[in-house]
Symmetry: C2
Subunit: 664 residues, 2 copies
Amino acid sequence: MEGEDHLAFERNKAQFDVDAMKIVWAGSSHAFEVTDRMSRLVASDPAFRKDNRPMLGRKELFKSTLKKAAYAWKRIIELRLTEEEAGKLRSFVDEPAFTDLHWGMFIPAIKGQGTEEQQQKWLPLAHKMQIIGCYAQTELGHGSNVQGLETTATFDPKTDEFVIHSPTLTSSKWWPGGLGKVSTHAVVYARLITDGKDHGVHGFIVQLRSLDDHLPLPGITIGDIGMKFGNGAYNTMDNGVLRFEHVRIPRNQMLMRVSQITREGKYVQSNVPRQLVYGTMVYVRQTIVSDASTALSRAVCIATRYSAVRRQFGANNGGLETQVIDYKTQQARLFPLLASAYAFRFVGEWLKWLYTDVMKRLQANDFSTLPEAHACTAGLKSLTTSATADGIEECRKLCGGHGYLCSSGLPELFAVYVPTCTYEGDNIVLLLQVARHLVKIVSKLGSGKKPVGTAAYMGRVEQLMEFRSDVQKAEDWLNPNAVLAAFEARAARKSVACAKNLSKFTNPEEGFQELSADLAEAAVAHCQLIVVSKFIEKLQQDIPGKGVKQQLEILCSIYALFHLHKHLGDFLSTGCITPKQGSLANDQLRSLYSQVRPNAIALVDSFNYTDHYLSSVLGRYDGNVYPKLYEEAWKDPLNDSVVPDGFEEYVRPMLKQQLRNARL
Amino acid sequence: MEGEDHLAFERNKAQFDVDAMKIVWAGSSHAFEVTDRMSRLVASDPAFRKDNRPMLGRKELFKSTLKKAAYAWKRIIELRLTEEEAGKLRSFVDEPAFTDLHWGMFIPAIKGQGTEEQQQKWLPLAHKMQIIGCYAQTELGHGSNVQGLETTATFDPKTDEFVIHSPTLTSSKWWPGGLGKVSTHAVVYARLITDGKDHGVHGFIVQLRSLDDHLPLPGITIGDIGMKFGNGAYNTMDNGVLRFEHVRIPRNQMLMRVSQITREGKYVQSNVPRQLVYGTMVYVRQTIVSDASTALSRAVCIATRYSAVRRQFGANNGGLETQVIDYKTQQARLFPLLASAYAFRFVGEWLKWLYTDVMKRLQANDFSTLPEAHACTAGLKSLTTSATADGIEECRKLCGGHGYLCSSGLPELFAVYVPTCTYEGDNIVLLLQVARHLVKIVSKLGSGKKPVGTAAYMGRVEQLMEFRSDVQKAEDWLNPNAVLAAFEARAARKSVACAKNLSKFTNPEEGFQELSADLAEAAVAHCQLIVVSKFIEKLQQDIPGKGVKQQLEILCSIYALFHLHKHLGDFLSTGCITPKQGSLANDQLRSLYSQVRPNAIALVDSFNYTDHYLSSVLGRYDGNVYPKLYEEAWKDPLNDSVVPDGFEEYVRPMLKQQLRNARL
């Protein structure tokens, strides 16, 4: 950083070792080192400039993304980066691109669902990017419900081929990233039909474009689906539409690891367990949770720094106005988001462990933990992405009017983040999956089968139904056991209440439908408990560094007590706590905010984000906001000329009362 | 509408007279007629096309806005539209432009703060648009706190002039719409300094640009502040930056209705009451509340129609999937927003009455209702705009993935709406003003001075502190008195609790600071009570039309019970209701959703929005969504060519392993 540090006075207040906290945030010294090195590599290379994105038209924007993607790949090769380093580099380029789908969906789909032979054929091509692939699942009329897809893949035994076809308009593939303009290949999901029988949805490798002239192959119609939310955001991505008119592919391009079509057209299952696909789902959702903490922490970093820079009101004698971060209303909105960023970080870390554990078990044919792992990743995906989307927008509002400028970085961050609430499982649909799992657990409680993992607390349901919090003074809420017990009791009682209400319906499915709003609330209670308990578990580990653990303890309490206050209705109506205890939690929360205050800047410095990555004038490390905002303004294309284009044709005739004759 | 109506089967279910509801929504037959005529005038004129906005670069976008503004003005003159009609026409053009500030801020400022003489000089010029004006108040470093503005206007008795100056970088005017590229004049707010004494912030009419060549006058620096949130949204507006280098204006360009500077440089007050400015504030905020209902209803209309079109899951035997509007989770998110749109409509209507009442009183030197009117408009501005911003985004999510496309209309609606939460008083700052008012009322309760207007219920505080709801079964919650009593008791007890906690502080200001998060919650409780009670009052009027009143009663109950459920913690912790009663409210809510369901499409048809105004493929009146989405996609500039710009330079070398030699 050059020049004066306008936030030095804030940094000097910190009561903990920021370097040690950086390691905790990154997950390990190794992770910190790689992350730090890759982020600086990107930040220092002008080819990765991104501040001009909002001003570019769609075509220019897209072209610049192609350039950056090619350049990034060139650097990855030149520097012989490892897979880990390459992934980090791409994430710091921080621009949605076709490569995300190629590396993140196309290759993993072939790895997960392709036979050994198929992997040997396709993966080397994909790894060298001699082919570029995407993941064509969703259709114009079909998103959440994969089983409702309409595209067909009909086996023709005469030629030993599949005929891929889009029978209706709503069966057009719609949304796949990288499809619209770039991908040469796709994994296409289609209903497998052989001998007139529909075997449900399967994946097929389909070449889309010629490797010579990049034109769509015969029978294939492809295009971009048009502009999306935000100035830059996902408009750098060619989300596409794709239609097939009886397109033929060889039989060996069906992904056949789990089920196969024989030369004769017989449908057979392999001995590979189908449950392996759930393993992939756990993996993808774990990544999403970890990304949630990243996105939220970026917004929080910007809002926290600018809240320390910005001053409003409170100057009585011509002195400086009050820093807005000193206002309790600002703290009560900002600090719970700061705490959430850390909370999501640690629950994401734990999910990484869970994924490894699940995969180990799957390989040993142990499917016992799968339902629980599936429910808990689904729920955490929902909880963390909804909270992050709302949290980013809240951070934008916390920056006042200037948060509305693209140069604040927050509009872009929001627009690029929000689809996460919808893709990989709509957040409400996911909560209902969790609720279904919870209700099932409750129904089996009498059977002697103990619930496992994050649902283990339900095994103590009788005790939890009797629970009454014994908190007597505000500080009692700092005890993790007090917090945990209240969250467990609330979650258990919500689930039990739902199960009880469901039992009043003769048709259980009808009851589930009717009570689904309550069921979603029960799922939220369960998921918040997981986040709280994983944060508490993290704090039981040895955490080195002066003051680091103390800061995390404060953040953990803030996360828990903020949600206790926000969902007070739950805690009171289930009788877990009394109104007085709720009020004590609120008092404690205020005092925790005061404890975070001097450490706030250091706590966001611990994320170790470069100014390039934040891409925010308001969130600059050095706090030198106003001169830079002023400087930034003049870069807008409208400022290319003093008198704007259109003045002569449209404004002058107005001023001169000559509109009648103007050609408009 | 041409072609088949794909939603006809929904429209046939309606149990009320849609035409009669349209009149209720519009406010009167006259208002309906004007609104309907102007909206069709705009919709039928291709010059007002707006679906291409997201694809335009900043310069093209801005130029097209200048063109539309000139064209609209030409039509207004040609058709000899009344002021009411012209205003409606501009609102249906639905594109932020410099004219908004000219008509909405510049002219009203001169009317409200200028002397008779000043009005006679400036208003005719402004009314003919021979000059174009903006409203230059906020500065780079100063938003909410008007008293903190730094720009100075120093009187120079030698020349009988004011010297307008920007002494610091942070004093640069920043944000004023219409300033950046178009306005010839501005009302500039600056600290009035005469004889070395600072008399605080006053308004001055300052010419900014030459009426000949449109160049900034000497000493004046102006530019656009750059891109803002969203693709189109406020990027059609030239929000500007402005600096003065000792710019001289004649003394008679200070707006002198309330206070004056004499030829000798003496500062004198006129006999016009200063409180008149608060009247303007009530007016502006009333408009904002009414606009909130418009913005929210647009989003709800889109989401409701598309929820009836869209089907997901639930097809057991190859039949049609379930319409998503039939899912309870969808209803539980969508219908409260539908109810809110109606609720905000009626509270906006009432605010219009309040404004007239306040102005009448002010002119009779009766300032007694002013604090109450001020608090209640501030609170309602905050409540309705926050709910609307969140509600629009919720509607976008309710449309699934397709809501993320610009062609859904929702991203644009959100991006253009959200600044409303910040401008004209930051929503949290406003809540604290309400809270201050409430605490003051509580502190005076013993004095025998009865609270008035929307705070009148506080006069029954003793009774409200004793209140226990007598609801025994779910249907009891349909009784408006049961609802009103619970909301009154909750609001009163929140205020009293805050006042009690404040009294524990020796320094009241410090206490207010410390407890501000609780105080904001008390303000929300008060404002929600106002919305509920004004809705109930509306229903006590005679409302003609078959089934119309019944539908509104259902919506009123949904609004109230939804908020009771959402803020259950408030109602339980203050002891107004029991957990059992809370649970009954929730049961009643579910049954109300079922009652709304068959009327949902008709209830959004009642807003009478044209497809042009909605500008949403998902919200089309005829429900013909998928073919139009497909058609829309091909209009994107990226689809101009099959092989995208940049393929040869960046993608081909990647595919052909020739990146090493590529120039990137």
